[in-house]
Symmetry: C2
Subunit: 428 residues, 2 copies
């Protein structure tokens, strides 16, 4: 079986290397040889491995229009031209394997429908959580379940930063600098820090898990730029850790979707996921709770997923289609104001009689009960109050925040972070 690869970055190079190196192993597993015959690159001047040079091309049609190439592996990243190439390959009946979460999150349903019409498989295990086989598991192994929720740590960059802040008390800026140094963060890390990347991934996971398409713009998105060392300390005080959690929760009134920094209890399975690791936590019936954890990004993990899909596409040629079908119909969504969560807030307040009463009164008038309050001793005329609410609707929270802003005793709101201090099973 002949394969064309679009893009020869870190992942592309590793995929080609493994396919070259393990040719015999895969031939034995599949009953036929897999051969990368063409590799599309853009930059003509970049040095390339000797073994790949004869296969390079600068012309996409050399791959897309080659009738001998049956599988196209797209590893360029970015929306265009990757999207057009994928669409063209599918139109020509070629199976497509891609790691491109941007293309899948924006155009997945159209491409998957086009694939169905053309009899072309579209596989994208590598697009979410790297080497963790979550796409295939949601699509097949867990298909007998009614899922209640998915919680994911699906962005390695932000998890690395938050882990460093938690473990060593370093500032956000220092942790970000270290992530860049180690190659975990790109030169422009906005998509990671502002939760754009995680939003794409949860929209793909939710679409597969709950059977309706979730547009990435429907995902409530809060990044990690405002997380301070003080918040990390307060989280520790609460027996918790701050993670960027992507969530999709089924409610009777629709899906609640969001990505935001979240305080999770140290006893929650996601709390142990540290460094650039990824993890996905699935709750449903009858399964109960399931955790997948592993490397979420990087060449090796991503190429494991890509090659798994390539082998699958090869098997599918003999035994039939293996496409991952994305739904075209939009999923019903719970409006943001009705999202139900606990929250952690940190307020800078005037150190004076009646301050705490005024704060408590604001929450009480919004109909929110407090789960815990922490005010460390302060030596001057200002103090810090950290509090955690019980589960409340977002609109009630906003009402309380508005009252706090109008309250003279409250100097400023320093943080407002989602808190999931119980596991799903404890909550029920």
């Amino acid at each position: 079986m002949r394969i064309g690869v679009l893009g020869l970055g870190t992942v592309g190079r590793q995929v080609v290397e493994v396919l070259d190196l393990e040719r015999e192993l895969f031939a034995a597993r599949l009953g036929e040889e897999i051969e990368v015959t063409r590799i599309l690159v853009r930059d003509q001047d970049k040095p390339r491995p000797q073994s790949m040079r004869s296969r390079l091309t600068y012309e996409p049609d050399d791959i897309l229009k080659d009738p001998d190439i049956e599988v196209v592996v797209e590893l360029m990243g970015g929306f265009e031209p990757a999207h057009s190439y994928i669409a063209e390959a599918i139109r020509r009946g070629k199976a497509v394997v891609t790691a491109n979460k941007e293309v899948i999150a924006r155009s997945g349903p159209d491409l998957s429908a086009a694939g169905e019409r053309a009899g072309a498989d579209l596989l994208f295990e590598a697009a979410v959580a790297g080497g963790i086989p979550i796409i295939r598991s949601l699509q097949e192994s867990l298909a007998g379940n009614r899922l209640r929720a998915i919680y994911g740590i699906v962005n390695g960059t932000t998890n690395f930063i938050l882990s460093r802040m938690h473990e060593d008390g370093v500032s956000f800026d220092a942790a970000l600098a270290e992530a860049k140094e180690r190659g975990y963060a790109e030169a422009d890390p906005s998509d990671d820090l502002d939760a754009v990347d995680a939003a794409r991934k949860i929209s793909i996971l939710a679409s597969l898990a709950f059977g309706g398409w979730v547009d990435v713009d429907a995902v409530d998105r809060i990044g990690i730029r405002s997380i301070s060392a003080a918040d990390v300390r307060e989280a520790k005080h609460l027996g918790a850790v701050i993670k960027l959690v992507a969530r999709a929760q089924a409610t009777p009134d629709g899906l609640a979707l969001g990505v935001s920094p979240t305080l999770i209890s140290r006893s929650h399975p996601l709390a142990d996921v540290s460094g650039a690791q990824n993890a996905v936590y699935v709750c449903g019936d009858p399964i109960g709770e399931l955790l997948f954890a592993g490397p979420g990004a990087g060449g090796p993990a991503t190429s494991s997923a890509v090659i798994g899909d390539i082998l699958d596409a090869a098997r599918a040629r003999r035994v039939g289609g293996r496409s991952v079908a994305l739904p075209l119909e939009p999923a019903p969504l719970l409006p943001l104001h009705a999202h139900q969560h606990s929250y952690y807030l940190r307020l800078r307040v005037r150190e004076a009689a009646g301050t705490l009463a005024a704060v408590a009164e604001a929450f009480s008038r919004a109909g929110i009960s407090l789960r815990s309050v922490h005010q460390p001793p302060s030596s001057d005329d200002e103090a810090m109050v950290s509090l955690v609410t019980h589960v409340t609707a977002r609109e009630q929270l906003e009402r309380a925040r508005e009252m706090l802003r109008a309250e003279a005793a409250v100097l400023s709101e320093e943080s407002c972070i989602l808190a999931e201090l119980d596991t799903d099973s404890q909550r029920r």
Copy 2:
């Protein structure tokens, strides 16, 4: 699509209930209805749910010979008659879904080859680690990897017992009694306690992961009956926890296979798997390390896996075969004497000058270096010495143990337990 179910125990009942209840959901997911038309039971006098009574039969042929039944779901457990029924269903070209690890571990390759000849799918995700999708993941998502090792906590009963001993310091007997009370241990728990169940599961996982058949008798098997509260305390002292770990490790000279109580470091991902949970930890290239954790047994988890397989079998009728192929050729095995591990030993010794020197001398003469030694203060003429070796071949360990037995200062060997105190990545 019509289904026949063999066996109506806890899992069987839940599978039928979910298929009945979620008929519309699954019809939407699949594009066709799934209907359980016949259920084989043995005991005519047992009370059965009203909704199932009209479908009961006491005659296996009512299912096996019914040409309208396309999928047979075997949930009886035990080797015979389950094995014969599965073979007969396959011979008749029916897809078979089973949770029966005994049948798969003993006759998997023959049944899978017969299925290939007859064009009948054989699916058994539920046979290992309940609701955790490890079979499918090894077979497909991870097929692009060269795996180095699999470590599994795949027996919920023993993990519950060891967790109770670790968390509350209770004795083995007390923990076993509690496991029976809670329904985690059967009246005769020998298969669990003596690691027979876990050996079956690792033989299935290893056969899928390493591409050669592993006979269950090739798995070195040590149960948990001899684990004492003193060992649990010593493990804690070492920053470790004792788990029944099933392992399959690839070495240049063959697979090393075993199930035994194992000291694992508290920082190892498997250390957090507590209670009746299961987990499988996979190491390979290029993937790195991957953890799957979730409910390993019980009606809900097992029925999630069984129904996932049923839906897969249904899809396969339209798009082609989905069988999990087990290899017929035996895997090359590393002989037991060459297995390489660290070990924890606890010795009862005479409290006298020269005792520790004599103990250390025995290890030294066997060519084993010690990683740590712990001798708590003792008030009488006896003392307890706990020690952990560096990695050594089993035959060297046995030589040292023999010398210790011959040593007058050593009154008895109280325990000898495998120790994996580093994660796979730390070891490399």
